[in-house]
Every structure is written in C-alpha cells, then in structure tokens.
Amino acid sequence: MAVTIKSGATSDELTIDSTGAARFTLYDTAGNELNAPVSGSYLANINFRHTAADAANSTMWTMRNGATKTVYIRTIFLTTAFDGTAAASTLRYSVQRFTTATPTGGSAITIIKKNNSFGASTVADIRQGGPLTTTSVVFENDAMTFGMPISVTNGIIWNQVYLDQPNQTYANFELAANEGLAIRVNSAQAAVIGWGMYGFVEWHER
C-alpha cells in the first residue's frame, strides 16, 4: 500500500515525478539552499584604453549595487593589452570592493541580461572611462591584481577568473546592498598610453 510523505513542518506532500523520481533540493547543514534560484543573471562589458598616463589608483571601471538584492560576481574576464611605447615596467590593475558613494564621470555601461525574460538588473550604476571621479568613495584593499609587462609593445594577456562552482554559491565575490566593485590602476604605478582592459564581468542577483 502506497503512502504519501508529508512535511514535518507543514502539510505539503512530496511529489514523485512521472519518471518515478522523488524531488529533492540540496541544502547544507546550516539550512542554506545550495543553488537557490536567482532573480537574474547579467553581463557588463569592460572596454577601456588609456589615452593618458592616468595616475596610480585611478578608477577606470565601477559597478554599484542597488539597495534590495545581493550581487554574486561569478566571472571576471579581463584581457589586458598594450599597444604603446615599450618600457621596462609591469602595469597592474586591481579589483577592489567599495562603499559609501557612487563614482561619476566616464560613460554608462549597458547591462545585458543573459536571458531577456529576466527583470532589469538591481545594479544602480555602472560606468567606465575617465578616470572616474570617486569623491567620498571608500575603497577596500586590493582583492586581486592583474599584471602585464610592457617591455615590448603589442602584448596581451587573458585573465579568466571563475569564482563560481556548482553547489557553492558562497564562492562568488559578493556585493551586498549598496556595495560596489571597481577596477583601478594599481597603486604601484601610473598607466601608460596604449594600455587597455577588455572583457566582461558576469553576475547573478537574488
């Protein structure tokens, strides 16, 4: 005689699909759902080439989360390239979280939904260029550094950072409400004309 299985917490009953398989959802022992559904998944391009020797710590690309969701950065795909005059130097970009204020200047970036049925992104502001104006912005220390030597011109390097793993949402780089992510010229040196960054940042929201 078949029996149904009822939740111990409510009156909900287990569904067995027509395939004969029971439905189950993965949780960890802290009660967190692994692979929780997202409200959307998005991309934004990175596309900037220095036309001036922008100072160390110049901020070139930023995104700032809105107030209602968490942004889970899955991928940073940052190609750096150099077409300028060679020099015995290694240029570096840094990735940093920021809070408190929204950068201004540069040009707005259009956020692309990975599925057009998703709602608009919760990201409140995203821009690149400049350098951007960062009045009252509070930056954390560098989370990552991406370097490339420029002792010969025409260099390029791909930095493909995959933060996400299935069943490990905690592995993403998270932006809580009103937090932001910035790509900046590292403190170690100024930019050189002809240095550029290209690629994209990919994230979920929930």
Binding site: K6, S7, S151, A188
Partner: protein
C-alpha cells in the same frame, strides 16, 4: 490515507517538504559521514599577489607568505597567477618561483616596502568575520636582495608547485591558474591546518629586476 512524516533515527527532527517545489530537503554526505559542499563556517577570502622585483632577490628567498591562525582550516581553492618579465633579457635562463607549505614554529615578519593597504585578506562577503590569517595579514617583499625575514625558521616542505618561464627575450608573460576545488570535492583544496602557512619563494635563480608575479589566492575557512 494522510501522508506520513519521516523522522530522523537520531533525533526528533522531521523531514521538510518545501511548499512550492514539493521537494524534500537533502544534504549530500559521503560514506564516511562527511558533508560534501559544506558552507564554510568561517568565510571565503582572497589575498592579492603583487610582486615586481626591483632588486635581484636571491634564489631561495621567500617573498610572499601567509600563515593560518589557530582556530580553523584554510582550504585554498585557487592560485591565480601571471608570471611576467619586463627587464633585460638573459639568454639560456629560466626565472621562476616555487610554492611551499610550512609548518608550525615561525612566521614571516611584517617587512615590506609598500603601504599596509595591500596586506590584508579581503572578504568575499563583507559580512564575514575577519580572516583567521595569523595577524589578519599576509606579508611580501620584492624590493631587496633578501626576502622576508622570519621570527624563527619553521619547517618548510618541499616544492608543491613550480612556476618557470624563460627570460631570453623580454616581455614574457605566462598565465598560471590552478583551480583546486571541484564540485562535491572539498577534499581537493590545498589545505592549511592550524598554524600552517604557505610561502612563495624565488626559484631556481635569483630574481631579475623586472620579474613579476601578480594575481591572487582564494580560500575558504572552515
């Protein structure tokens, strides 16, 4: 017949069926009883690597180090490195680094030439507690012929990872990305037990001005 509830054999806890999905909640364990994909009780962190030698740092010098504290295990998920060289080419020469774990007994001195802002671990979620890193910081040094100094010499393991690149032509750049952690395989991380550390040392020859190692290390704390 009304549905039956399923009760744990170990406690009085009852199985939950979620309202929308009508799916039961399950957690993956291995046959040894260890939870797979455990969410870190501590948190998840990164530390940047930002070395460019401005001096001929001697072979064997430790130039970057971090040591675990005494309460959690550090599970290193990723070494994301870019090796580079912008100096004067030297024929028939390989430059490089090695990565070694070290045991208890000592730690690197805070002894670097750059400002402190580059020395703290970064939380991947800002609500996490501070990293369990000893002192909350990593140490690095790329501006002298000697590397980090040590309060007392710990026992260094042999090379776990070897990074090499030629410098017979300038402007070498080499990516080195090691993703240790795989889905459902927490055991595949490179682990630092309590008080263990990890160091990057110049190897096999002295560094040359213009030699660089940039990137980051990523880990969970459980």
């Amino acid at each position: 017949m009304a549905g039956v509830t399923v009760q744990s054999g170990a406690t009085s806890d009852l199985l939950t069926i979620d309202a929308t999905s009508k799916a039961f909640r399950g957690t993956l364990y291995d046959t040894a009883g260890i939870e797979i994909n455990v969410t870190p009780s501590g948190g998840a962190y990164t530390a940047p690597i930002n070395l460019r030698h401005t001096a001929a740092t001697a072979a064997g010098s430790k130039v970057w180090a971090m040591r675990n504290g005494n309460t959690k295990t550090m599970r290193i998920r990723t070494f994301f490195f870019t090796l580079g060289f912008d100096g004067t080419a030297i024929p028939a020469t390989n430059l490089g680094y090695s990565i070694q774990r070290y045991g208890t007994g000592g730690s690197a001195n805070a002894n670097n030439s750059l400002t402190d802002r580059n020395r703290s671990a970064i939380k991947k979620r800002s609500s996490y507690s501070a990293s369990t890193l000893a002192g909350g910081v990593f140490d690095y040094k790329d501006d002298a012929t000697t590397g980090l100094t040590w309060t007392s010499n710990p026992t260094f393991e042999t090379d776990a990872i070897v990074l090499r690149f030629p410098c017979s032509v300038t402007n070498t750049v080499v990516p080195f990305n090691a993703y240790f952690l795989q889905t459902n395989e927490s055991f595949s991380c490179f682990e630092l037990a309590i008080n263990e550390g990890i160091t990057i040392l110049v190897n096999p020859v002295a560094a040359i001005i213009g030699q660089s190692l940039t990137g980051f290390i990523e880990w969970d704390e459980v």
